[in-house]
């Protein structure tokens, strides 16, 4: 019954009229920028009328989908208000069921371990980059997902790690394995340094200030030639050696790959333990309600600062591996949009959910590589993803499962005479 009425609403005359209006509106809206290209030097105009048709058709069809999704979302909110059942998706139920999740985990482990044996060097390289993003996104997940502090300058800590390794290597010939903990430690230190002044700020101001810090660090790296070699960056950063041996190119890439797998597993382990620890629960509490949280006796400053610093540590370590892998870094790799991409990984996967963030980072890093033909649309898609996720599914693809404690004593009590 409700199915039929829904279809009627979806395809009725009123709906078509609405979609037509949307279609005309978007054709008007995109007309100058999409259609006309003026060349002021050669004094020519290029009219690209065919694009107008695509925009119109796209807007017409998408507007149906948009309204359908909005309705579904509103219906979902109503359902939640009326019935307090904790609605879980299929994906979540599958993941929480050990009969499914254990074999899935085994397959994943097997896949990642045998990956370099099966695939080519190029694939290994892509996967390594994706894993670096997984680690960094998991770090950001601590700050944004668990503690609820939106950090838009996160890539600065990544830069700190990368430059730590590059500069220590250039000046003091320090090796990768010494620099990895130093990079992490410096990330931590910068997290404390930058976190300390901004703790008093409200959520959106905090986001803008961290953005400011991130840009300051990038601009300093770009302009301070004596220190960071300026915009030309640092080249010929050595790849990590294995027990003092120099490896051939292929071996070396495989080595970095396994190293990254190890680091990823370590990160997941630590983040999981942190999440369930005292401090992890304090982060979540702080995210939900600051004032109530303070009333419960949680030290706000220390909790926020620890989230900031621990999140930054992972970025620092990720940065060291990044520098070692690409062997060349310059400030252009650390713009604010890189922070936004990492944020996108966290948001798409599901803020606060480890498996979600891992999946989000893998999807966002691997898909663009395999759809090279569409690579120029990458950032456009990222922007769209951010907006759509926030509008329709703020909890992400795989949302984090909230811990529920049920009081079961009451039924027993009521049952007693």
């Amino acid at each position: 019954m409700s199915e039929i009425s829904e279809h009627k609403i979806l395809f009725g005359w009123e709906e078509i009229k609405k979609s037509l209006l949307t279609c005309i509106w978007f054709m008007f809206l995109t007309f100058p920028i999409m259609v006309i290209q003026v060349n002021t030097i050669h004094r020519t105009v290029e009219w690209r009328w065919e694009r107008l048709f695509f925009v119109g058709a796209g807007a017409f069809l998408l507007s149906f989908l948009w309204r359908y999704m909005i309705r579904r979302k509103e219906a979902g909110i109503k359902r939640e208000e009326t019935a307090q059942n904790t609605h879980q998706d299929l994906l979540q139920r599958l993941l929480s069921n050990p009969r499914f999740s254990r074999p899935a985990l085994a397959v994943a482990v097997l896949f990642f371990l045998t990956f370099p044996l099966v695939f080519s060097l190029y694939q290994i390289d892509i996967m390594t980059t994706a894993l670096i993003y997984v680690v960094v996104a998991l770090g950001l997940n601590i700050v944004v997902g668990l503690a609820g502090l939106l950090d838009l300058g996160y890539v600065a800590f990544f830069a700190v790690g990368a430059y730590t390794y590059a500069l220590l290597n250039v000046h003091f010939q320090l090796g990768f394995w010494i620099c990895l903990p130093i990079g992490g430690a410096l990330g931590f230190l910068f997290g404390v340094l930058l976190g300390f002044p901004v703790l008093r700020l409200r959520g959106d101001y905090l986001a803008i200030v961290t953005l400011g810090f991130g840009e300051i660090i990038r601009l300093v790296l770009e302009n301070w030639n004596e220190f960071s070699f300026g915009p030309s960056g640092i080249a010929n950063i050595p790849r990590p050696g294995f027990m003092g041996m120099d490896l051939a190119l292929h071996q070396n890439h495989t080595y970095i790959y396994y190293l990254m797998v190890g680091l990823t597993v370590f990160t997941i382990f630590v983040v999981r333990r942190l999440q369930d620890s005292r401090i992890g629960r304090a982060w979540t509490a702080l995210r939900e309600d600051e004032i109530a949280c303070q009333a419960m006796g949680i030290n706000k400053t220390r909790t926020k600062l620890s989230a900031f610093a621990i999140g930054a540590t992972w970025a620092g370590m990720g940065g060291v591996v990044f520098a070692a892998k690409t062997t060349f870094i310059n400030p252009a790799s650390f713009t604010i949009w890189e922070s936004v991409i990492i944020l996108c990984c966290v948001v798409l996967g599901g803020m606060g959910s480890i498996i979600g963030v891992v999946a989000g980072a893998l999807v966002l890093k691997l898909l663009p590589e395999y759809f090279r033909a569409f690579s120029e649309y990458r950032m456009l898609v990222f922007g769209t993803v951010l907006v759509l996720m926030m509008v329709f599914r703020p909890s992400g693809l795989i949302s984090s499962v909230r811990r529920v404690y049920r009081f079961e004593g009451r039924n027993k009590l009521e049952g007693q005479p």
């Binding site: 509106w25 978007f26 008007f28 809206l29 995109t30 100058p32 920028i33 999409m34 006309i36 290209q37 003026v38 060349n39 002021t40 030097i41 004094r43 105009v45 694009r51 909005i70 979302k73 609820g148 939106l150 838009l152 002044p197 901004v198 008093r200 700020l201 409200r202 959520g203 959106d204 101001y205 986001a207 803008i208 200030v209 953005l211 400011g212 810090f213 840009e215 300051i216 601009l219 300093v220 302009n223 600051e290 004032i291 109530a292 604010i336 936004v340 944020l343 996108c344 649309y377 950032m379 456009l380 990222f382 922007g383 769209t384 993803v385 951010l386 907006v387 926030m390 509008v391 703020p394």
Partner: protein, 302 residues
């Protein structure tokens, strides 16, 4: 320190400040009413500049007089920026009215990324030369070596826009509704203010002033690309916060202060670190005086 150099920097700062003010007004109005940092506002300014460029380019080919082109290009830019601002609000912000603030901010960042890349793909990633639409006025010849006529026009337009906006908000029905909504949205709804319309109107007004700023500065500097909105947007945001976000006179004062301090900093100290200076300014203000010069102090409510 000779006086003429000082004067030049002073006027340069005034130009920057005026443009920041035109953009900052949009930030501050939107923040005052929906409490959202409209991160994509800089992109609206950029789209205004691009629309202006396209219209101006077309009309130049037809051989119209410069002043007529300027007026028509500005009007077209304003119309299109308003349309984009309005649509953006409907898509990215309206469904999130009741969502947490951070969701709306992330959505705004997504919108900003989308619009930047939309223009990048539909037009070009390169810098485009913008035709100089502002003729050299004869009566300005005696002071031409310190202030170009385009600068004078920017000051004049900014002043007119400020006065018009102030009058609009003080004396019209819509302005009254806007003030009511910014004070207390629910109460405004209860007394019959159409809040949705007020919010749309705010986005439209803010977009129009930003577009005007975009066309003027593009014509003054002479080139634009898809990325100009980001930095201009951030700096205008700094200005809005400096003046006290939510307050319109504050936005103007903040913009002028930022414009002058940037101009003197680059003129006397270092031009390499110009943007670092702006960001430092932002960080310092937000940390030590987040309510700005004219802003009211906000406290968190349970």
């Amino acid at each position: 320190m000779d006086l003429e150099y000082f004067f030049e920097l002073f006027l340069g700062g005034l130009t920057r400040g005026s443009i920041y003010a035109l953009i900052a007004l949009g930030y501050t109005m939107v923040y005052g009413i929906v409490e959202l940092i409209n991160f994509a506002h800089g992109e609206i300014y950029m789209i205004g500049a691009f629309t202006g460029l396209i219209v101006a380019g077309l009309l130049t080919l037809l051989g119209w007089p410069a002043l007529a082109i300027l007026v028509i290009a500005s009007i077209a830019a304003m119309i299109y920026s308003c349309a984009y601002g309005w649509t953006m609000e409907k898509i990215a912000y309206k469904p999130l009215r009741k969502a947490p603030r951070l969701s709306a901010l992330i959505s705004a960042i997504g919108m900003s990324l989308f619009l930047q890349n939309y223009v990048l793909l539909a037009q070009t990633p390169d810098f485009l030369p913008f035709p100089n639409l502002i003729p050299e006025f004869d009566f300005l010849e005696p002071i031409e070596h310190i202030a170009r006529s385009s600068e004078i026009l920017i000051y004049a337009v900014t002043a007119v826009v400020m006065v018009t906006l102030t009058l609009l908000i003080k004396f019209t029905r819509m302005g009254k509704a806007m003030r009511a909504t910014s004070q207390d949205r629910e109460m405004a709804m209860l007394v019959g203010v159409n809040v949705n319309r007020v919010i749309s109107m705010t986005f439209i007004l803010g977009s129009a002033t930003a577009a005007l700023g975009g066309v003027l500065i593009a014509s003054h500097i002479g080139q634009i690309n898809y990325y100009i909105g980001f930095l201009a947007g951030i700096k205008a945001f700094v200005a809005a916060v400096l003046g006290g976000i939510g307050s319109m006179p504050g936005a103007v004062i903040g913009s002028l202060v930022l414009g002058w301090s940037e101009s003197f900093f680059t003129g006397y100290i270092s031009s390499d670190y110009e943007d670092v200076f702006a960001f430092l300014f932002l960080v310092v203000i937000l940390i030590f005086r987040p309510s700005g010069i004219l802003g009211r102090k906000e406290s968190d409510k349970v």
